[in-house]
Symmetry: C2
Subunit: 221 residues, 2 copies
C-alpha cells in the first residue's frame, strides 16, 4: 500500500490525497511535522517538505510531479484531458493556485493563523492577514469568471486544476476564511467537489487546537 507523509491543512498534500482517492489508490496517511526536520524524514526528502509519497517502491516529492506521475501510472478515472491545449490549461491553473494563490492568499491567511502557531514561530502579522483577505476576493472572482464559461475550472471535465483549487479553498474554509456568498457559481462548484467520495477524508480532518467551523464538513453549506 502507498504511504503519504503529510500534514492535514496543507493544500499540496490535499491535492495529492484527492488524486489518490479519486483513482481509488489505497494510501496510508502519516502525519509528518516537517518543520521539525527529523533526520529520517530529511533522508526521504532533502527538500524537507510535505507531501512525500511512498509508492511503487519509490519515494516521491513535489506535489505537481507526484500528481502527473499518479496520472501517468493510473490514467483512469482521468484528471487530465486528452489534447495538449486542454492539458496546458489544466497545468496553467494548477500553477496559478499552487504559486499565485498560494503566495497571495494561502500563505497570508493559513500560514499566519495556523502554521505559525503549530510551528511555534510567532504570531499572525495582521498586515499579511489583511492582504490575504483582500486578495482572495480577486481569486474568487477569477474562478467565478472561469466558471461562467465552463463546467469545471479548466474545461468541461473535472481535472487536477479543480483539485488544486479545492485543496487551497478547503484549507481556508477550515479556518472560515472563504466567503461563499461572494459568487454563486464558485459555491456550486465547491459543493459538487465536496460531495465526491474522494473528498471524505479531507472533510474528516481535525487539527488539535483548531476546531473546524460547523459548515466545514456540511455538504449543504
Amino acid at each position: 500500500m502507498a504511504t503519504l507523509y503529510h500534514v492535514p491543512l496543507s493544500p499540496f498534500c490535499r491535492k495529492v490525497r484527492l488524486s489518490l482517492a479519486e483513482k481509488r489508490i489505497e494510501c496510508q496517511l502519516v502525519e509528518e511535522r516537517y518543520w521539525e526536520r527529523s533526520p529520517e524524514f530529511l533522508r526521504r526528502n532533502p527538500a524537507a517538505k510535505v507531501p512525500v509519497l511512498k509508492m511503487d517502491g519509490r519515494i516521491l516529492s513535489e506535489s505537481a510531479a507526484i500528481c502527473e506521475y499518479i496520472e501517468e501510472k493510473h490514467p483512469e478515472p482521468s484528471l487530465m484531458p486528452a489534447n495538449p491545449e486542454e492539458r496546458f490549461e489544466v497545468r496553467r491553473l494548477v500553477s496559478w493556485f499552487d504559486d499565485k494563490f498560494q503566495h497571495e492568499v494561502t500563505a497570508n491567511l493559513l500560514y499566519e493563523r495556523v502554521n505559525k502557531k503549530l510551528m511555534k514561530s510567532g504570531y499572525p502579522e495582521s498586515k499579511n492577514v489583511k492582504a490575504g483577505a483582500q486578495k482572495i476576493k480577486f481569486h474568487l472572482d477569477y474562478m467565478s469568471w472561469l466558471l461562467d464559461h465552463r463546467r469545471w475550472l479548466a474545461g468541461n471535465s473535472l481535472s487536477l486544476a479543480d483539485f488544486a483549487a479545492a485543496a487551497h479553498l478547503s484549507c481556508l474554509d477550515y479556518i472560515s476564511d472563504v466567503d461563499w456568498d461572494r459568487s454563486v457559481n464558485v459555491r456550486d462548484w465547491y459543493s459538487k467537489i465536496k460531495s465526491r467520495p474522494a473528498f471524505r477524508s479531507i472533510l474528516a480532518d481535525v487539527v488539535p487546537g483548531f476546531p473546524p467551523p460547523l459548515h466545514y464538513a456540511d455538504l449543504d453549506f
Copy 2:
C-alpha cells in the same frame, strides 16, 4: 512566428527560451516590464507576470505549463524521457529549482540586487543577500551529488530539469553570484549546457545598468 514576452534576467523566461531554441522554434522576444502592469499586458495575462508566450494563436502563461505544452506539440528533440519514473524525476527537479531554489537563492540574490533596482522598489536587504549566498552552496552540492551518478541532472539525457537549473544559474552568473570552483562536475555540466546553440541568445543578454562579468559569455570560463 511565436512571440515571447519576457525580461532578460528571469529564470522562468530563460527556461522557456531554452526549450524553444533547443527545438528550433522561431520566436520573437519582446521585453515586458510586467511590474508596470500595463492594461494591455494584463489583458494578455491576468497573473501579471512573465513569461507569456503567443504561439499557435494562443496566449500561454505559467512557465511549467508552457514547457510541457511545447514538449507535447514539438516532441523532437525531446526534453522529456519516455517512461513515467524518469518523467517524474524531471518534473521533481523542475519544481525543485523553480520553487525551492527560487525562494532560497534566486529571490534572495537576483531579486534583491537587480529586480529591486529595476522596479525602483528599494535597496537590497543584506540579510537576504547573505541568506541566498549561504543557501546556494547547499544547492550546488546537491547538484554535484546528482551529477556524480548521472550525465545530466535528471538522468542520462538532457531534459527540462537541466534547462530549469541552467536558467537560474545563468541569471545568477550574470551578477557573479555562482562559485564555479565549488564543484568540478557542476562546472562541467554548465560548460556543456553553455556551449549548446540554444544558449546563445541568453549569453548575448545585456541589462542596462548591469554589465555582465567577462566570464559570463565565455565558453571556457
